[in-house]
């Protein structure tokens, strides 16, 4: 574990430089321990693949004090902390209308579209962290056969809920945005609801599975989600 002052108001705790569930468990153990610490001098926690950035008020807490706290918490929590992590199922409709790149992904993998859906919806993915934009999840566990580079030219507009593949990653666009991921389906579930508690469907450390649904189920769930909003 390396403790690096990233700025005058933050410490970056680095556990390693590879993506691995074991390193991630250490990130999450420290993350949960700091959340339980309930210290108002700590303003924000940013978990990454193998690191945790801690943003704090430097007028009330020094880098050295926080560094000591981190070392103590890391010792106490080890890497087998009780976690509030959940197992979440995200329904996805892999219909061609929602997955304009499904056929290309299948061709790239030398599989049929049905096999891609089967392969994509079989693993249990690990939510390494959320970042980049509100509710955007970084998932680990995409089967290697489905790895495929992102689009050369990003699409200017992607509908929120779209599920895509980029390199070795798969993920869900939480809100409408531009983007270069290969789209293979869409979820009717709202991944980010600013007024809800918590505002995101997934939290760092959660496990998740994609569950295939047909168009009729998608439309029905979508109507349900919209009715709930009103």
């Amino acid at each position: 574990m390396k403790i690096i002052p990233a700025s005058d108001s933050s410490l970056l705790i680095v556990f390693g430089d590879v993506i691995s569930p074991a390193l991630h468990q250490r990130v999450m153990a420290l993350f949960y321990a700091l959340q339980d610490w309930h210290d108002s001098r700590i303003r924000n926690l940013h978990p990454g693949y193998a690191s945790l950035l801690i943003d704090f008020d430097p007028l009330r807490l020094t880098h050295d004090e926080l560094s000591l706290v981190v070392q103590q918490l890391a010792l106490a929590s080890g890497d087998d902390a009780d976690t509030p992590a959940k197992a979440v199922v995200i329904p996805v409709c892999y219909d061609a209308k929602f997955g304009p790149d499904l056929f290309d992904v299948a061709q790239h993998a030398g599989l049929s579209p049905e096999e891609v859906v089967q392969l994509h919806s079989s693993p249990t993915y690990l939510v390494y962290f959320l970042g980049f934009s509100p509710g955007f999840v970084y998932l680990g566990g995409l089967p290697e056969a489905l790895h495929m580079p992102r689009l050369a030219t990003p699409r200017p507009a992607i509908v929120g809920g779209s599920v895509g593949i980029a390199g070795s990653q798969t993920g869900i666009y939480p809100v409408d945005s531009p983007g270069g991921w290969r789209l293979i389906g869409r979820t009717p579930v709202r991944m980010f609801e600013p007024e809800a508690t918590p505002p995101t469907r997934l939290q760092p450390g959660d496990r998740m599975k994609f569950s295939p649904i047909d168009r009729a189920t998608f439309e029905e769930m979508k109507r349900g989600a919209e009715a709930r909003l009103r």
């Binding site: 700025s7 933050s10 924000n44 959320l130 970042g131 509100p134 955007f136 600013p194 505002p199």
Partner: protein, 309 residues
């Protein structure tokens, strides 16, 4: 009482001092780009310093007041009138009922703040009234203000208006290089890269916004183009993408990223970042973390000293 937006200006949003505690869900702090001017505006009218107020960028708004109000304008200079009368900057003043406060072009900086005694009535979203425009939430309907919007002002008891000492803010506007500490990937860069970073003048790109201030100028590159595992990004981090043109990550920043960070603007200078305009020239100068914390401490002290007791 309410305020109706006659014309919204170029980019006017409701802000407070930011949304904290949600970075692990990908949610950046947002909040006033120049928190110092924002806090001064609220203190002048007697508000809690984090009360919701307006941030107006480059061109101010025209606002109709249905009742009389006490307001203050701070930040970059901006020609403002109430009816036909000029109004002062950096001082609390009265607006009569039915008057229109017209704010013109913002000069000598990028952002001007308008605080109204009582503060704007804005529902909190994740504990904050700050607008995060890219995420469509917070502030007034999650967006910048538009003509015809009507904003409420909170009912309040008696609040004591305050005033600034003469020439109290002169030091704020003096041109000065941004002070930075070395970043978490400092060992990715050779001394020559730091030499370039600290001796050249950079120009603020037109592509800058509240998410990031892009600098154009001398190219700085890490020793080798290695991959950085995506990690958390501190406010004010200066990241170096493959084109070698540094970007200062700002209040609406992405919470994580994979580019190496060569330096970080100190907390005490974030207000200066909020006043950078496209095409401004800016230099960077290194300080230690201990010095940076001391400068922040001095700034907090200064903030209490500038008001007439």
């Amino acid at each position: 009482m309410t305020i109706r937006v006659a014309t919204p200006g170029f980019f006017t949003t409701v802000q407070d001092l930011g949304r904290y505690g949600y970075a692990h869900l990908g949610i950046s702090p947002a909040g006033a780009a120049d928190p110092l001017s924002f806090r001064i505006a609220n203190r002048l009218v007697g508000n809690n310093e984090s009360a919701p107020a307006l941030e107006m960028t480059l061109l101010g708004a025209s606002l109709e007041f249905d009742e009389s109000a006490i307001v203050a304008l701070t930040g970059a200079a901006c020609e403002c009138k109430a009816g036909s009368a000029q109004v002062p900057a950096n001082a609390a003043f009265d607006i009569p009922a039915g008057a229109v406060l017209q704010c013109g072009s913002v000069t000598d900086g990028a952002r001007c703040y308008l605080a109204v005694q009582g503060g704007f009535e804005i529902p909190l979203c994740m504990g904050s009234a700050s607008t995060f425009v890219a995420g469509h939430f917070g502030g007034f309907k999650g967006r910048r203000l538009q003509g015809g919007d009507v904003l409420g002002i909170r009912q309040h008891g008696s609040l004591r208006v305050r005033s600034l000492r003469p020439r109290a803010l002169e030091s704020l506007r003096a041109p000065q290089a941004l002070r930075v500490t070395k970043g978490p990937q400092e060992d990715w860069f050779d001394p020559e890269a730091f030499e370039k970073l600290f001796t050249s003048a950079y120009t603020v790109s037109e592509q800058s916004d509240r998410a990031g201030v892009r600098l154009k100028g001398e190219v700085v590159r890490p020793r080798e183009q290695s991959e950085l595992l995506t990690e958390g990004i501190a406010l004010g981090a200066i990241q170096v993408p493959p084109d070698g043109q540094p970007i200062i990550l700002f209040v609406d920043q992405q919470t994580t990223g994979g580019y190496p960070k060569i330096a970080n603007v100190i907390a005490a200078d974030m207000h200066r970042v909020g006043q950078l305009r496209p095409r401004d020239e800016v230099g960077l100068v290194e300080v230690s973390i201990a010095e940076a914390v001391q400068m922040l401490d001095q700034q907090e002290h200064w903030l209490t000293e500038i008001f007439v007791p």
